[in-house]
């Protein structure tokens, strides 16, 4: 096939090929228009496999799933042969307006994820920037070794790293052994559903919820909303910061390398302190910073693998996990799909909002 295509269109130009190349003259018109015609269908032929896969396994299924979110379906019968009962927007209403356990779980998952985002995004961004600045110090030897070490967790499987962290943070695990050395008795991390903010308040003598926090909002009391991440979720926060910082560090390193060396050297001659130079560099890193924050915000709202391994625990569930467990564990695919679409909407809104807020700095 390849050769026949080549020979039919090639018949005319071949004769002049030698001279054309030597003089770098444009190819004869007839050959060029034949090529143009060939390109028209070859282009579609080249993208066809990719388009077919994305259409069949991504775009159309998202449409299916939206339909499922409007039904009650158990995942067993065929959803399009009458197995799924059409219920309109009931699943969405159940999640948002109806006072029941489903809404309570959904609210809990949202609370968990909000705290997850609030902690992970600044921590991973800060750590990544710090590591990049550290590695950018030309006077240090062995920088490429350490760059490799910091980046390595990012390329390994989320399942494998989560298993390691669940072990490190187990009751008698390495982290508690370390804390023991300095005389602190660590909690049974992964099983501890107490909120971190609640624990901090305890230190200041607030041991029971004040009256005003008893009011319910979306089936959770304000006291529960303000709990902070659970101690169990803190483990996942540390784990995710540890696995993602390496990737973001590389982005910051690339950003730092684009900054004019002379500017920095001049400032050093002028006697600027490290902190002053750091302050000077940060605005120049703005495009990278925006990129890292956006990627961080989008990915932290999707945390799933790590949550799956901690089990079905209200202290750690997130919307992505709840969507899965409602569908595949409780056979409530309608509710599960509705959660997925609410999450989808939320991510789109947040990404658009962020683009709007900081978009002006993004024109390179």
């Amino acid at each position: 096939m390849t050769s026949s295509v080549g020979s039919t269109t090639g018949a005319a130009p071949t004769a002049v090929a030698g001279t054309a190349r030597a003089t770098a003259a444009p190819p004869p018109r007839s050959g060029r228009s034949a090529l143009r015609r060939q390109e028209r269908w070859a282009g579609w032929l080249f993208v066809l496999p990719a388009l077919a896969i994305l259409l069949i396994f991504l775009i159309v299924p998202i449409g299916f799933a939206f339909y499922i979110s409007l039904t009650r379906w158990d995942g067993l019968s065929s959803p399009f042969g009458g197995g799924a009962k059409f219920v309109g927007l009931d699943n969405y209403k159940n999640l948002i307006t109806v006072d029941n356990l489903t809404r309570q779980n959904f609210a809990t998952s949202i609370r968990n994820n909000v705290y997850f985002v609030l902690f992970v995004v600044p921590l991973q961004t800060g750590l990544a920037l710090g590591l990049a600045v550290l590695l950018n110090n030309k006077f240090l030897k062995g920088r490429s070794f350490f760059r490799t070490a910091f980046f390595f967790p990012s390329v390994t499987s989320s399942i494998a790293t989560t298993l390691v962290f669940l072990f490190l943070f187990s009751g008698g695990g390495a982290v508690n052994s370390l804390l023991n050395v300095v005389g602190i008795r660590g909690p049974n991390w992964t099983a501890d559903s107490r909120g971190v903010f609640h624990q901090v308040l305890r230190v200041f003598g607030v041991t029971s919820p004040p009256g005003w926090t008893q009011h319910q909002f979306f089936n959770l009391s304000w006291w529960d909303w303000l709990s902070g991440p659970s101690i169990a979720l803190t483990v996942i926060i540390i784990l995710v910061v540890w696995t993602t910082s390496g990737t973001f560090m590389l982005m910051f390193l690339a950003g730092l390398q684009n900054i004019n060396e002379e500017v920095l050297e001049a400032s050093e001659v002028d006697g600027a302190t490290s902190w002053q130079r750091f302050r000077m560099v940060t605005p120049m890193l703005r495009p990278t910073l925006i990129l890292v924050l956006t990627l961080g915000l989008i990915s932290t709202w999707q945390v799933f693998d790590q949550i799956y391994l901690t089990g079905n625990n209200p202290a750690t569930i997130t919307p992505a996990y709840l969507s899965y467990s409602q569908s595949f564990r409780n056979s409530a695919f309608g509710i599960g799909a509705a959660i997925a679409f609410l999450l989808f909407g939320l991510i789109i809104v947040l990404a658009a909002l962020q683009r709007r807020l900081v978009g002006s700095g993004e024109d390179d």
């Binding site: 028209r40 390329v155 991510i347």
Partner: protein, 286 residues
């Protein structure tokens, strides 16, 4: 290049202190993982921080490799499945993504802009939203619990297409024109001229595809329920979240987890440049 080349010793010391501290934080967990896999269950639970197993036990590794009557885990099956699936996905992606990337970079065809924007839109779809859609379509196509069901949904990926498009845009057009003047059609130009020039890009795509499909978890979780299709990721995850009816056998699970990361680790250390380049170009798309 004179005065400011001098760095005071305290700054130097502080720099190395930072490097070593963070080096320990980033690599320490892997060292503990390795040490734990040679411990007994009791030793792992009681001396979890120790890097020296006492006594040294090969029990976990014997169970991983099936050299014991005490039934361990079907590691061989998980490994085989991971190899089969990751190989097929990688080969598929290299072929399909590079074709599409080339067409989007170089071939002029009606609707090209539309196709390009659709692929960018697909990139923006959050993965966590795809759990139910993928299960649905595999069930409808009767691909649930099959190898094709584990491979086809991710055999083309928008990020890979984008990566290849960027790469092809960077190859000088004169090479193609010379080939075409010589009478080669679009296909022959692609196979004989473009692909050999695109080798660095193809290597990057191969590595990222292998890493992605080897570590893939969510698709395999919703595409299969039969344990015989478990890969290293789904097998380990189901085993340790208690579905296969086991306790917390840390030396066994951590040993298996360690072994499952070895292939990606080897590829990573051998082709680190490509990982870094790939990460950065993947970032540009965001």
């Amino acid at each position: 290049m004179t005065a400011h080349d001098y760095t005071p010793p305290w700054r130097r010391g502080l720099g190395y202190l930072g490097l070593i501290l963070f080096g320990l934080i980033f690599i320490g967990p892997f060292l503990i993982q390795l040490a734990t896999s040679f411990k007994t269950d009791a030793d792992a639970a009681n001396n979890s921080l120790s890097l020296i197993p006492h006594p040294v036990s090969y029990d976990a590794w014997k169970r991983i490799f099936g050299f014991t009557d005490n039934a361990g885990i079907p590691f061989g099956r998980w490994l085989t499945n991971s190899i089969i699936v990751a190989t097929l996905i990688t080969l598929g992606r290299v072929f399909i993504d590079s074709l599409a990337g080339y067409a989007l970079a170089r071939l002029r065809f009606p609707g090209r802009q539309g196709v390009f924007w659709s692929i960018l839109a697909v990139l923006a779809v959050p993965g966590a939203v795809l759990l139910i859609p993928r299960f649905l379509v595999l069930k409808e196509l009767t691909l649930f619990n099959t190898y094709p069901g584990m491979v086809l949904p991710i055999i083309a990926d928008a990020a890979g297409i984008f990566l290849m498009r960027q790469f092809f845009l960077g190859i000088p057009q004169t090479m193609e024109e010379a080939a075409r003047i010589d009478g080669a059609g679009v296909f022959r130009t692609y196979w004989t001229v473009i692909l050999p020039l695109a080798r660095p890009g193809l290597i990057t795509l191969t590595i990222l595809s292998f890493q992605g499909s080897w570590n893939e978890f969510q698709l395999f979780l919703v595409a299969t329920s039969d344990p015989k299709y478990n890969t290293l990721t789904t097998g380990l995850a189901k085993f340790s979240s208690g579905q296969l009816g086991s306790g917390t056998q840390y030396p066994l699970t951590l040993g298996a987890a360690l072994l499952s990361t070895v292939p990606v680790a080897i590829v990573f250390f051998a082709f680190q440049r490509h990982f870094i380049g790939g990460q950065l170009s993947a970032a540009v798309k965001g």
